[in-house]
């Protein structure tokens, strides 16, 4: 686009920067600070209006994470489910993503639509269908059931990222390796896999964090026995009864992997993997 939009020269650029940073601090940074403050509120003193900052701070709410059994249990449950979902998605997505990325397929459009569907379909619709199906199969309210439903919504992201990764390997490199005498197995081991490793790692991380954060399907299928961190957060935010301080603690726990994802995404993930993940319709 035009390089000198509305405001010409250096002063205009500084104005623009000022505008952007003001908006960013109001909508992003202040909420984050307030969120952290809520997690540090001293339960004895509380934090009532019109105080702008809490009268006293403590780590009591963080200690509650260990003391309140349901928080610890939800934490354990989330970190039990996420690796299983990631492994399952990787196993299912690798061959399919490879086929989508590197082979000439006849029904490509239909296949891509099928893979796109769970990303676009509202989670509540999938949850309704899977919920009733799992009741019949005896999978409702079980960890296995939650693993299976989370896989439905995360597998498409994994497939798309794997496909984009494989597609991104230049054909010339494959041809060069074959030309230099690489038979299929060494070709995969020495050329293909090293080249796709960053993409696969990113896909795995994306899936792992996606599993930690998934809510709707886990909520409908897992309730009330399988309680992950987002389900608990929903409860603390007023779904059951409002406990803002605990909600703040759970929020911070859920934000850490998110921030990690941001950094990894910026550093190792190329923009196209992200675009593939988030679905160019």
């Amino acid at each position: 686009m035009n390089r000198s939009w509305i405001m010409r020269g250096a002063p205009g650029r500084w104005m623009l920067a000022l505008g952007f940073f003001t908006v960013a601090s109001v909508v992003l940074i202040i909420p984050l600070i307030v969120g952290v403050l809520w997690s540090l509120v001293d339960p004895d003193a509380g934090w009532f209006p019109p105080a702008i900052v809490p009268p006293s701070l403590s780590l009591a709410n963080w200690r509650a994470m260990l003391a309140v059994p349901e928080i610890g249990q939800a934490f354990a449950m989330s970190f039990l489910i996420a690796p299983i979902v990631t492994a399952l998605c990787a196993a299912l997505a690798l061959p399919t993503g490879y086929a989508l990325g590197r082979r000439q397929l006849r029904a490509r459009r239909t296949i891509e639509l099928l893979v796109l569907a769970p990303i676009i379909l509202p989670g509540i619709v999938l949850a309704t269908g899977l919920g009733s199906m799992f009741i019949r199969l005896g999978l409702s309210h079980t960890v296995a059931g939650v693993v299976l439903v989370q896989t439905v919504v995360l597998l498409p992201f994994m497939i798309r990222i794997v496909a984009a990764t494989f597609e991104g390997v230049p054909q010339d490199l494959i041809d060069a390796a074959r030309n230099l005498g690489a038979s299929p197995w060494p070709l995969a081991r020495d050329v293909l896999i090293p080249l796709v490793r960053p993409g696969l790692f990113a896909g795995g991380l994306f899936t792992f964090i996606g599993s930690l954060e998934e809510f709707v399907l886990t909520f409908i299928v897992g309730m009330p026995y399988v309680q992950t961190l987002p389900v608990l957060l929903w409860a603390y935010l007023g779904g059951r009864s409002s406990i803002f301080t605990y909600a703040a603690v759970v929020t911070m726990v859920l934000l850490v992997p998110t921030i990690i994802l941001m950094f990894v995404a910026e550093r190792t993930l190329k923009q196209e993997y992200l675009a593939a993940g988030f679905g160019k319709v």
Partner: protein, 298 residues
Amino acid sequence: MAQAAAAIPQVTRAPARRRHESLVDVLLLAPGLGYLLVFMCVPLVQVVLRSFGLLAIGEPSQFTFGLYREVLANKIDRDSIVFSLYFALGTTVISLILSLMTSALLQVRFPGRFIISVLYKIPLVVPSLVAAFLVLTIIDQGGIIARALQPYGLGWPELVHDRYGLGIILVLVWHNVPIMTVILSAVMSGIPHDITNAARNLGASPWQVFRNVTVPLSLPGISAASLLVFIGVFGAFSIPSLLGAAYPTAIAVVMSREVLDRANWGLASALGTIVTALSAVLLYVYYRLIRRQEAALR
């Protein structure tokens, strides 16, 4: 002829090789697509069938439009559809305006642009429940803004649990502006500088360039992003369930109540089918539009 004779072994060999290749394709696709067929297509078909009274749970199965008649007759269900359409449309329009501005401004070089381009993506990866909490701490009656205004005797309007769903729209906008901005920025930075420079050279003001060149050329991205956001928001559950008023409620909230509180899978399925059908129609319209645009550009 010589080449006809040479072609004969080819004719007999090619189909066998092609069959072998297809088999490899099927084997590679089987894990991923098979899983989606079993755990997405089957339940989806069940939802649709159940919405017509078939495959009923705990009731006799028979084909009927009764559930849809029930949805239309019930004011709560009817209003939930209207309410969902309302906040989905509102969120999409507001997000589109904000992200068009943001992505156009992000094309300009300014100090700290890199930091901003990282910062604005944060909401993209923040779970919607966390987003709800963060925005809640700011805009709620006990939130920071209300607290800041209190000493001056200024009141702060009720934005959460209000009947206009303003809190819902606010959080959804917070969450969706970055998604749209990522898509629109990518599309806009893909427009060759030569084209915008040519427009400038021909006498277009920056605003005219934006209006007549940038926006039309970004139209595929704009429609894709709008559609993505609209469909996503229309079926949203967590934010409307936390920030919505007791009445009217979002369609997803009504569905979850039917399922969890009343085990009324039939009615939930009818609502689910309506949501799915609307999404499918929008997607179809979108594909038609894109096809026509591509044809026009060719």
